[in-house]
Every structure is written in C-alpha cells, then in structure tokens.
C-alpha cells in the first residue's frame, strides 16, 4: 500500500491504551440512548417476560410452561434465522410456511408410507428444502424477479404440491424416534436429585462463554476509542444475564431436562451469528443490502450470494418442517400456515430494516421470543384468539415505527 505520510494528523498522537477496568462511563441514560436500537429489543423481551409473569400470577414462569415455549416456538425461531438473512440482503420470503408443510409431508411419506427409518425421512426433507431454495434462488438471482413475487408464487406452488404429496389427507403417526427430534430431552446424563445436573452444567458453560466474549468485545471497543459502560456496570450486566439464564436453566432442569431441539437451536444461532458477523459471505450479505451497486462495483458476486441466501432459507425451512412434523407427530395439508408471517415479524421486531442492510440473528431470535412470550402469556390468561391477533399486529407495527423514529433521529443529528 502506498499512502501519504500522516502530516499534522490528529490521529498521530495515538490515544493511550485505556485499561479495561478504568475505561467507560456510568451514564446509564447516555448508554441506553446510544444503544437503544441494538439493546432495546432485549430490554423489551425481559420486560414482557416480567409483565406476563405478574399477569399470570407466575404461571408463565413455571418449569412446565418454560419448556413448552421452547418446544412450541422452536420452528419459528429456526425460520427466523434464515428470514433475517434474506431480509438483510433486501429480499423477503413468503413461501416458508408452505415449504414447512411440503418438507414435512415428504418426510412423512418416506417414513410412514414407505416405512423407511427416521433419518431417511430427515434427509429426504432436507434435500427437498435445498431444491426449493435453489428454485427460488434461481428466479431471484439469475432471472432478476423480485423475491416478493417469486416466493408468493412459491407459497401457492408448494402448498399445492403438499396436497399432491399427501393426496389431500393427513399422515400419522411417526415412529417414536422421529418424535424425539422435537419432543425429546436429554435428562439424567450426570444424575441429580429432582433436577438435571447435565442441563445446569451446559448452561453454566454457556454463561461463562458469554462473559468471556463480552470481555473480549469490551477490550476491542476500548482499543477503538468507543464509548463503553464503566466496569461495575459491565459486571452488573453480566451478572443480570447470568441470573436470568441460570433461572431459565433451573426451570428446565426441574421440568424434563434439556430439550434436544434447544441444543439444535443453540448450535444454529451460534453458527449463523458467526457466519453473519465474521465470514466473508456474511459481509457480502450486509454489503448487498446496504448498497447493491457499491457491492457489485467492489467485486461482490451479487447473483451468487443471493442464490445461496435462498438455498440456505430452503434448508432451514426444511429443518423447521422436520421439527414441526415431529412435534405434531404427522403431516397435515394445512401445516405451517402463516409461519412466514411469524418469521418475518420476528426479524422486523428484532431490528431488521425494511430497506435491507441492517439486522442480526440474535435480534431476530429476541423478536421471535417476544412473539412467543406474548402468544403464550395471552393463551395462559385465556385471552380470546381475536384479541391476541390484534395485539400481535400492533406490536409489530409499533416495533418498526420505533425503529424508523430512531433512524430519523439519528439521521438528523
């Protein structure tokens, strides 16, 4: 690289290396407003959990119910991982509900009708998902049809194919092994009296990992002269998160132990977060969503990236289809109806921008959990289905309105 020598540069003095302990501010208001867009969503999630805990008289926080939420919404969260990537790139996918139905149906036909082992069904469903993703990717990336149209067509197309595959009837039941995918637990691996030690150990490791990565991030931020919370605040934040997570773990441990689907979900969230934040592919997705022309002129193969984004969405839809069919112990023609809307709502509530270029996997997970906690809480309270729908709609609208308001304020500064 050839560049001019720094002459009279303010940066020349090089800021002194600030200590991890002494750096930072205790101005909580300043920190909150600065990070409102990124951390507001997690605050909202915690507030909602507390709110429903009070409203249901503690029932929503009971061991059985917590386990239930995880099992019941796992497939929406899996879909939301793929959806937020699609949305960051500036697209949308309306077909995932139908893809969930079709992949579940394919798996059911293979396992139930043809009597194949459970894993053959799983592989068949995953392959179907990959093919569907490649189909969408081809039309969006190489033909240049807007994803809204392509996946709207896909929504009708794959719902129709589900009816064909199932011959218009439901198929059930799956063998017991297949049911383990969504309803199985790891329990008693390390023993325990009335509670599962294995679950607690896994979560303790997770908390330690979280604390370590937060510490590293803090060090990096300080070296870039970014504003960070003061050290006591930093510790306080980690302690709060640790308490919340370990309480959650305790509730699981005293119920039925570690859900297999939760392990799967945790691996997916971790892997996709790393891909989106650290890999070249993830960078290119953000670049395309932020300014597609600039990305193309920087050498990003826009078509290839768009293609694989949809292939990935197909794969995750198939995974969600497997989990859903496992949980409902069969395949129905109407399975997965409106799942796409829940997944899209999760991504937008989680801070993804309609215009693309912004969004995070973790945010989408928080957005999905907000929807889950709300639905579950309102069900426990016996609130009418119609009212639930109205409230969920308003929450989605307000979340995006809040996001746009924040952006406008940031822009005017």
């Amino acid at each position: 690289m050839t560049m001019t020598a720094p002459k009279g540069s303010q940066m020349g003095k090089a800021s002194p290396p600030a200590s991890v302990v002494t750096a930072g501010t205790s101005e909580i208001r300043e920190l909150l407003t600065r990070n409102m867009r990124t951390s507001g969503i997690y605050v909202a999630l915690v507030a909602l959990v507390a709110l429903f805990g009070v409203l249901t008289g503690g029932a929503s926080l009971g061991p059985g119910n917590i386990t239930n939420i995880v099992l019941q919404y796992s497939y929406i969260l899996i879909l939301a991982i793929g959806m937020v990537i699609v949305i960051i790139a500036g697209h949308i996918d309306l077909s995932v509900g139908s893809v969930v139905a079709l992949t579940g149906a394919v798996s059911a036909v293979v396992v139930i009708q043809y009597g194949q082992p459970w894993w053959v069904g799983v592989i068949a469903a995953l392959l179907t998902g990959l093919l569907i993703g490649a189909w969408h990717g081809y039309w969006v990336a190489y033909v240049g049809i807007p994803a809204f149209i392509v996946t709207l067509a896909g929504m009708l197309l794959f719902r129709g194919l589900t009816l064909v595959v199932l011959d218009n009837v439901s198929l059930s039941p799956f063998p017991a092994e297949y049911g383990q995918i969504a309803s199985g637990f790891l329990n008693g691996l390390l023993g325990g009296a009335g509670y599962d030690v294995f679950t607690l150990v896994i979560f303790a490791i997770a908390v330690a990992g979280y604390a370590f990565s937060q510490y590293r991030t803090r060090k990096a931020l300080i070296s870039y002269n970014q504003l960070v919370p003061s050290f006591p605040l930093f510790i306080a934040k980690i302690v709060v998160v640790a308490i919340a997570v370990m309480t959650f773990a305790w509730q699981l441990a005293t119920a039925r132990g570690m859900p297999i689907v939760l392990i799967m979900l945790a691996i997916l969230i971790l892997a996709y977060s790393v891909v989106m934040q650290r890999s070249v592919f993830g960078r290119q997705v953000y670049a395309i969503g932020g300014n597609v022309v600039a990305a193309a002129l920087s050498g990003v193969k826009v078509r290839t990236v768009n293609f694989w984004i949809f292939v990935n969405m197909g794969l995750l839809s198939a995974l969600a289809g497997i989990v859903f069919s496992s949980r409902s112990n069969g395949a129905q023609p109407g399975a997965g109806n409106m799942f796409e809307l829940d997944a899209i709502a999760a991504a937008f509530i989680g801070g993804a921008a309609v215009t693309g270029g912004v969004g995070k996997v973790a945010g989408a997970m928080a957005g999905g959990l907000i929807m889950a906690v709300m639905s579950n809480g309102m069900q426990l309270m016996g609130i009418d289905q119609s009212v639930q729908s109205v409230i969920k709609g308003l929450v989605l609208l307000l979340a995006v309105a809040f996001d746009i308001y924040n952006k406008r304020r940031a822009g005017s500064r």
Binding site: T2, M11, G12, V280, F281, Y286, K301, G357
Partner: protein, 512 residues
C-alpha cells in the same frame, strides 16, 4: 429600441458553503434564440432553476423581470402560469402513459361532468403533434418512442401551456444527428411564431448555427453576451469566454518520469444499455507507470461509461475491444477479474455507487479486499481493523474511530474512505472518476498529494474530471473525448483549456 421579454439582474444564489451564482445578468429579446454557455459547474442550471421557480423567490438575490414585470415565483406552477416552461435534460415524461396523456398531465382536458374528455384530449394532442412535426398517434405510449421523439413530446406539452419563453437544458445531448437537426429546426420555427427560446448546450457549433445571442457564464458570473450576427464571433470566441482565467497555485508539483506502459486499451466500443447508439466508439488509450493521464469531456461524452465498461463491464452492452496489462491481454469481464488484474475504479457518485453509507469505516474500507483479509472464508478482524486504522492515519480521515458510520462523514472524508478502500486492493492502475467533486479545497489538496505519492511509487492513475484546470494541474497527458470518440491527446505541457475545449466540442462529422 429592442424589447426584452426577460431581464435577470445581478442574480445571486448560495448553498451552504458554496456561492453558486454571484451576480449573473441576462437580457433576452422577444422572439429570439438565446444560448447560454459555460463549463460544467459554471452555474447555468442553477440560473435556470432560479428562473423557473424551482428555487422560490426569496431564496436568491437580484431581480427577474418578465415582460417588464417583476416576478416572484414560488414554484414551477407559477412560472408555467406566466408562460415560462423549462425542459430538463432528464425528460419528465411518464413512459406508460400515452403521448396525449403526457401532454395534458396536470392540465387535463375535462368535460362538463368533470371527467376527462378523451376526444378533446386526443384531438388537441394531434394538433400539437403536427405543430412540432411528430407523426405519431396521440394514444401511443411515450415509452415506445425514442429520446428524440420524446423531446418533441415535451415541446408539444410546453406549447399546450401557451409557452412564451421555452428553456431547453442540453436538448441534444442524448440525440443522434438527425433528431438534433429536426429539433433545432423546430426551435427556429418557434421563433418565427413569436416564441422565445433559451438553449443551454455544450455543442458550440449548434449554438453557432442557431443562436441570435450567446451569454457566457463563468464561476457564477456573466462574462459577456455575444451577438452571433457579428462575423468575428465563432466557436473559438465563445470558448475563450468560457475558460479565460488563471491557473491557481493549487496543485502540488511532481517530478513525472513515465516508465513502461501499464494499461493499454484498444478499440474499445460500448453500446448504450437500452438505446441503439454507441456511447464509446473505438477508444484507444494507454497509461504508463508513474504517469497520470486525464480524460476530458463534456457531460454525455462517455467518460464514465468508458471507464466503467472497462472495469468489469459494469456499464453498457455489446462491449468490444481489448485490454492489456503490461502488454499482456487481460480479462476484465467481471469486477472481480478487474480487481485481480490490479485495476481499481473509484466511482463518480460516491454515495450512490461507492459506499455502504449505513456501515462503518472499517467495513467500507475492507469491502473490496476481503479476500486478502480473510482465511477459510472468515474475516480476520485484527488485520481488518489494523488496515482501517492505518488508512485513517495516513489519509487523515477525520472521524472518531474506525467504527464510525460512513454516512455521517463529510464529503471529503467519505472520498478518502473510497480511496482507502481501493488502495487496499493494491492496484497498479487507479481510475478516479471526479475525485474532488463536492469536497472542500483542503481535502482536494490532500487528494492531489495522494495521487502524486501513488504515481511516485511507480503506479498509474487515470483521472476523469469536468474541471479542466484540475486535469491541467494534475495530469501528464490528457485525452479529449467527444460523443464517445477520443478526439485528441495532448501532453499537459502543450495543453490549455482552449485547446481542450476545442477537442471536446469536436463533432463526429468534423473528425471524419
């Protein structure tokens, strides 16, 4: 005593930080064709926006008299009501609507019921089309017409508003020779019908052929108004008025010692992506190690199109020609291949084409060189941050840190981010398209210094600029481009604004 239909007296107009007009005066006689000439950025378009009310009364200084009365337009509707219609370079027609619908858009012909009277609409449109010499059905969608015919529809639309003063901004820039001739004939014809025209054009021989008077504007001021009937007034005389100023001591000097040829492009021809015309025609040029070459050309000459099509075929279609790096023919069919061949291209419009404004400095700078900064498909954050920190220091980018959002930086700092991004790809040829547009004097100097240190290291630079002084001040050699053809090549020592302008305004016929 001649009657002036329009008098603009000492018009001034400022934008934050820039004085676009500082005292322009203009007097236009009734029923004449009055041309306005000036370099890019001289203030022609701003002046016309003041006149047509795009910049409302009160936002500028000076006085406008139309038919002897002071005007204070608060918008385009007011000026159109008074009989002043402006036709912009980018036509404002709706492609899916018919010719008749476009002509009466916003001015619909209604029946008694308040609904549109289609018979009257189409009949009146037919009469207007006859008067501009356009033989098309009024019901034809505008999108099916070529640019030349669309231009005529715009004029018919102006006539439907009973226009008295017609302003044409670069009307022939996108037209072929036949369409240009027809349009200019029509303008002449309108004059005999008592309609006054103001025409802004870079094509000086057209102006020589059609205008009665020519007003020359430079740096936001009126230089002179020439009577075209005067036998001494010709294209050269106009050019002298357009460029006559001193070269400021503004460009850092450099010892240039060009070495071997790094990039050579032969017979490069590019067609417009949607229209049937050649935007670049058989262009051949080369740039040597340690050398800065300039590409001079007026707007629409094909400068950006030439470079963008070389850089990974990012513009146009049916591209033909050959690219050589160090004498070896090189593939640059995709941007990735061009970057691999060590060519870098910093775009003209950095906000639209160069940067991801919602992302931070580090990630913008690493954007074109992620391959180098990653292993196994994962970005090495430490190397990325180090590269960005180094760029911030060496380029003197003023921002809190490498995590600052690029959209919040000033134009000069954004441009430095763009340059850092391309330097990180370690190019041998750096193509800079309008590298100093819209940035302040200090940042300009820094960018010129950077160009110098880059070529001192034996690399090559191509500068595209509308500012001829910038080309004269920074380049070793300058190629002039006119309507897609390279019309000349001058060593900077022999070049002057006059000589360049002569080459830049040469038409195809004159070359042949």
């Amino acid at each position: 005593m001649v009657e002036h239909i329009l008098e603009m007296q000492s018009i001034t107009k400022s934008f934050p930080g820039v004085k676009a007009l500082s005292g322009v005066s203009l007097a236009v006689e009734r029923a004449e064709v009055h041309a306005i000439c000036g370099e890019n950025g001289a203030g022609k378009s701003t002046l016309m926006k003041v006149l047509s009310g795009v910049y409302p009364a009160g936002s500028y200084g000076g006085e406008i008299l139309f038919k002897g009365q002071t005007c204070s337009f608060s918008g385009i509707r007011d000026s159109e009501h008074a009989g002043i219609v402006i036709i912009h370079q980018e036509l404002a027609l709706v492609p899916h609507l018919s010719i008749a619908e476009n002509i009466f858009l916003g001015n619909e012909r209604r029946g008694k019921s308040g609904l549109i009277d289609w018979h009257r609409t189409n009949a009146e449109a037919g009469v207007l089309l006859d008067s501009v010499g356009l033989r098309e059905e009024p019901t034809t969608p505008v999108g099916q017409l070529g640019v030349g015919k669309q231009q005529l529809v715009e004029i018919a639309k102006a006539l439907s508003k009973e226009v008295q003063l017609l302003i044409l901004d670069e009307p022939t820039a996108a037209l072929n020779d036949n369409d240009s001739a027809h349009l200019l004939g029509l303008v002449r014809d309108l004059r005999t019908r008592g309609i006054t025209s103001i025409i802004i054009s870079h094509k000086l021989n057209e102006i020589e052929a059609i205008a009665d008077h020519t007003t020359v504007i430079r740096d936001g001021k009126t230089v002179e108004t020439l009577d075209m009937a005067d036998p001494d007034v010709n294209v050269d005389r106009i050019i002298r008025g357009m460029v006559g100023r001193d070269l400021e001591a503004f460009y850092p000097s450099r010892d240039s010692k060009p070495g071997e040829v790094v990039l050579r492009v032969e017979d490069w021809t590019v067609k417009h992506p949607s229209q049937d015309r050649q935007v670049v025609d058989q262009a051949t040029f080369e740039v040597r190690a340690g050398e800065v070459i300039g590409i001079a050309g007026l707007m629409g000459a094909g400068r950006t199109e030439l470079m963008m099509s070389i850089f990974g075929r990012s513009y146009g279609r049916y591209i033909s020609g050959r690219v050589f790096m160090h004498g070896k023919e090189t593939r640059t069919r995709t941007v990735a291949e061009a970057i691999e061949a060590r060519i870098a291209y910093a775009t003209e419009d950095r906000k639209a084409f160069g940067l991801n404004l919602i992302d931070d400095i580090a990630r913008n700078i690493s954007g074109a060189a992620l391959g180098k900064l990653s292993s196994w498909g994962f970005v090495n954050h430490h190397e990325e941050a180090a590269a960005a920190e180094f760029a911030m220091k060496s380029m003197n980018i003023k921002a809190p840190n490498v995590k600052s959002i690029v959209g919040k930086l000033s134009g000069g700092n954004q441009q430095k981010v763009v340059l850092s991004k391309w330097l990180l790809t370690d190019p041998e040829v750096l193509i800079l398209d309008e590298p100093t547009r819209g940035i302040d004097v200090g940042a300009k100097f820094e960018i010129y210094t950077l160009i110098n240190s880059f070529v001192d290291a034996g690399k090559a630079v191509v500068v595209i600029s509308s500012d001829l002084l910038e080309l004269l001040g920074t380049c070793d050699r300058i190629y002039a481009l006119s309507t897609g053809r390279i019309t000349g090549e001058l060593p900077a020592a022999d070049a002057s604004e006059e000589r360049l302008m002569t080459l830049m305004t040469k038409d195809k016929e004159l070359i042949a």
